[in-house]
Symmetry: C2
Subunit: 153 residues, 2 copies
């Protein structure tokens, strides 16, 4: 559970989070504040929509994914700081009652050329429901501290 520096990461490393159950009232509360569309708020309207039933906002799934990741053993030094994503998609809707967990895989590790005190790691996160189905896939780059400034080496 200790903090990990850039030197501690390597491609192929996998992390797995705990689980979080998605409750109906939280789906509706998130949607009311951030994504007030009928298919996230009302069962009847959702049944007539493209989702065929109440579905969590994709941004709710993204936020829950972040929570699961922050609470996992994936602990970059300086925190989980996203520089940006090159992929973010939701292959299946998240339904009330689903239990989500996150798998994070390190794809690349790169020292920064301009900032010797840090680097970037590319990470794929896959958020899965209780059946193991992927409900969110992202590929993003995180800023991670180096253990020591190599110029001082």
């Amino acid at each position: 559970m200790s903090e990990k520096y850039l030197e501690d990461f390597a491609p192929g490393q996998m992390y797995r989070s705990g689980r979080n159950r998605v409750e109906t009232d939280r789906v509706k509360a998130f949607a009311s504040e951030f994504d007030p569309q009928p298919f996230h708020l009302d069962e009847d309207a959702a049944g007539r929509s493209i989702f065929g039933g109440l579905a969590a906002s994709g941004w709710h799934t993204a936020a829950l994914t972040m929570r699961l990741l922050v609470e996992s053993d994936f602990k970059p030094a300086g925190g989980i700081v996203g520089a940006g994503f090159e992929e973010l998609r939701w292959p299946l809707p998240v339904r009330p009652g689903d239990e989500l967990y996150v798998e994070a895989e390190v794809l690349e590790v790169r020292p920064s050329k301009s900032r010797p005190s840090q680097g970037l790691i590319k990470v794929r996160t896959t958020t899965r429901n209780q059946k193991g189905e992927a409900v969110q896939i992202s590929v993003g780059n995180l800023v991670v501290r180096r253990r020591a400034d190599p110029r001082k080496g």
Copy 2:
């Protein structure tokens, strides 16, 4: 403000949202629930972090962007339904007190080959603060209904 079908969209169309002020208590409340890291929760810890002061979670910015978009004149028939993003980044931190607005530009319009009742539009959204600086940029594809099934036409 009427709903727009695939046939109503064309590359180059621009939409601009209203404004939303980011309050300190909301930054901390969102972070407490979804992104509990010190630089989103505590001014002193944030001052010592990579952000140099309290900053909203990127997922909070993303969620606020969605809210602004849902309330704007950008009204695809069937709702704003994201198929996925190919870019999502946060060039600058969002600070408490910032007032955000969103610009959405239609980049591409494509009928679906497999589903004649719908298509995809590619949209770039740029979320800006009160100085006009970009704090979030995304490029994503949205599912949009066609006005009529062309097979029936």
